[in-house]
């Protein structure tokens, strides 16, 4: 009997040790109508994506554009797509414009797609997003873009991120105000993506500090992170202790099992 228990424990342990993670990233370098967007998010995403697989457990799944049907890949009606959907990944990085936008009287967090900056473009909205409940069950969702974790109106959790996290997402990293990039200095933009990948997969930094340490070189950046727990202090512990290789070992909390939120803002 003891041998069987030992074998089961060994099998479970080895499954954690050799856990593989599917990663994805979306950004844009070619915009609608030949529009030149000098905010070079794709420098960050491309280099993060290419550096992440230095960790043997990484399976690079997709690095794609923000063109149609990207919106549906973020929102709950299409996020289960196993090649392009956010729930088709374990870890996902969006590098592009984001922010807040009122929709039907509710201020949503939004992720911009590939349209130019002159019209009324397409956005993925937080009220249509529920991440972590299908396919690979997204665990870590990062955004290099502005304002999506803003809380000036007090609605970050109750109005915006509560809906997203109730699918089981474990961790989010982003910005509560501006995300800065060099207009043309590709090397320094690239370094942000490389550093975030290295800090996640080699240094084994806590996710919180992997994000901060990667983005802090722009003195005006205003990053933020967030996580859930069964109650507030449980969320706090998860926020402070999650590292990428152990993402899979932290319990998945969905719907009413989410009882608290924790965040960090650098302000």
């Amino acid at each position: 009997m003891k041998k069987i228990v030992f074998l089961v424990v060994l099998l479970m342990a080895s499954s954690f040790l050799y856990a593989s993670y599917y990663i994805g990233a979306k950004s844009e370098s070619s915009w609608e109508n030949g529009w030149s967007d000098n905010w070079r998010g794709d420098d960050v995403c491309g280099n993060w994506y290419n550096t992440m697989d230095d960790y043997s457990g990484i399976v690079k799944k997709s690095w794609t554009t923000l063109r149609s049907p990207a919106k549906s890949r973020y929102e709950t009606n299409g996020d289960q797509d196993t090649t392009y959907g956010l729930d088709g990944m374990d870890i996902f990085l969006h590098c592009g414009h984001s922010g807040l936008r009122g929709v039907g009287g509710v201020t949503n967090a939004r992720w911009n797609m590939w349209e130019d900056g002159t019209g009324d473009g397409t956005w993925a909205f937080s009220s249509n997003m529920r991440l972590g409940d299908e396919a690979r069950e997204l665990k870590l969702f990062s955004t290099y873009g502005c304002y999506q974790m803003n809380n000036d109106d007090g609605g970050r959790w109750s109005v915006r991120w509560r809906q997203i996290f109730r699918g089981g997402l474990k961790y989010a990293t982003g910005f509560h105000e501006f995300a800065w990039l060099f207009g043309t200095d590709y090397a320094k933009n690239r370094q942000v993506g490389k550093d975030y990948a290295n800090y996640l997969n080699t240094t084994n930094k806590k996710i919180k500090y992997a994000w901060w340490d990667a983005v802090k070189t722009h003195a005006n950046n205003t990053p933020a992170v967030g996580s859930t727990g069964s109650y507030a202090s449980h969320a706090e512990s998860r926020r402070d202790n999650m590292i990428m290789p152990q993402l899979i070992t932290f319990s998945t909390l969905r719907d009413n099992s989410v009882g608290g939120y924790a965040w960090t803002e650098w302000r």
Binding site: T184, D185, W266
Partner: protein
């Protein structure tokens, strides 16, 4: 009696968290950096000439990793003490050392380093998190002391060089229950940003930076530096007049009043390390909204010398060399340049 005391204790604890407020802290620019900014916005660069400098190669990540480990092995807050968990991973682009709750990354030629003791921060977070944050003056003093004493062998200040305290930032941790109750925020760390002046001119465009973090009990727990040594050449570069620099700013900046609403521009002029040479330049920080509401923040580094030395990694300089000054109206300064002026 015991149950009454327990009830009172629970009430006191819960009332503290129930009525806690958003922590009212926000980082700001230092007085000295505001002065540099004001001076730059008024007259760009006052010098007539600057010496061209080249960037020296660092001693290598292996040498610096060993020196740092030795230097901090007996440290209490910044520590590299070896124990059972201690391990080193040597990659092409960086050495990564991890111990119990701390990690050290030394990049490339050893001139860029990141260290963090997250264990100390977490263990001591509750200590003084509700006390007042470190002020600008406190951060400046504590940061300078740490850099000049603990990092003196790594962040070297040559003759004519000085540290410039740039700004404060605060790490604030928060929690709340799903129904919004028990909202609470705690100060986790106080962060000081430093830059560098060479012969009175600020290094711009993230050329030289030191970031020191202090836990909420005011102990140094993390540092980051990107700090190279420079060699002064005999060659001198004449600084362009303000009008000419403005013309280039308009030509080469990513954002302008035509494509952005509520454009805000900050200009800091000085010297730029393009990874090969150090040449006069202005850093242009631009933020605003595209017309569909997209927020955007972009930094450009614009050449400010009459003459310049080409390096393909400085894209604005490449554009200037390839296309010259192409616009007639300054979007940034809102000045109109006469057509025959150039």
């Amino acid at each position: 009696m015991r149950s009454m005391l327990l009830t009172l204790f629970i009430f006191l604890i819960s009332s503290t968290t129930l009525f806690a407020d958003k922590l009212d802290v926000k980082g700001e620019l230092s007085y000295e950096f505001k002065e540099i900014k004001e001076q730059s916005e008024k007259s760009r660069l006052n010098n007539e000439y600057v010496n061209l400098m080249t960037v020296k190669k660092g001693p290598g990540k292996e040498v610096i990793t060993q020196k740092l480990i030795k230097h901090f092995e007996k440290g209490q807050f910044i520590t590299t003490k070896a124990d059972d968990n201690w391990q080193i991973s040597m990659r092409d682009d960086a050495n990564v050392v991890t111990g119990s709750g701390w990690n050290l990354t030394v990049f490339n030629d050893g001139t860029k380093v990141n260290y963090r003791n997250s264990k100390y921060v977490n263990e001591n977070k509750a200590k003084f998190g509700k006390d007042k944050e470190m002020s600008l003056d406190e951060l400046k003093e504590a940061g300078e002391k740490f850099i000049k004493e603990d990092l003196k062998d790594f962040v070297k200040l040559e003759v004519g060089e000085e540290l410039v305290f740039i700004r404060s930032i605060y790490e604030v941790d928060g929690v709340q229950n799903d129904d919004g109750s028990c909202f609470d925020e705690t100060l986790a760390s106080n962060i000081a940003y430093f830059g560098r002046k060479k012969d009175g001119l600020m290094l711009v465009g993230n050329s030289a930076i030191v970031i020191v973090e202090f836990s909420n009990d005011r102990k140094p727990v993390s540092f980051y530096y990107d700090w190279k040594e420079y060699e002064k050449m005999d060659e001198q570069i004449r600084i362009s007049p303000k009008e000419e620099i403005d013309y280039r700013i308009s030509s080469l900046s990513s954002l302008n009043y035509g494509n952005i609403e509520h454009l805000e521009v900050d200009i800091i002029c000085g010297l730029y390390d393009d990874s090969k040479y150090v040449q006069p330049a202005c850093e242009i920080q631009q933020k605003g909204k595209y017309f569909d509401g997209k927020d955007v923040g972009i930094i450009n580094v614009i050449p400010a010398g009459k003459k310049y030395y080409s390096n393909a990694s400085w894209i604005e300089l490449e554009l200037l060399q390839e296309f010259g000054d192409v616009c007639r109206e300054s979007d940034i300064t809102e000045e109109i340049f006469p057509e025959n002026e150039k």
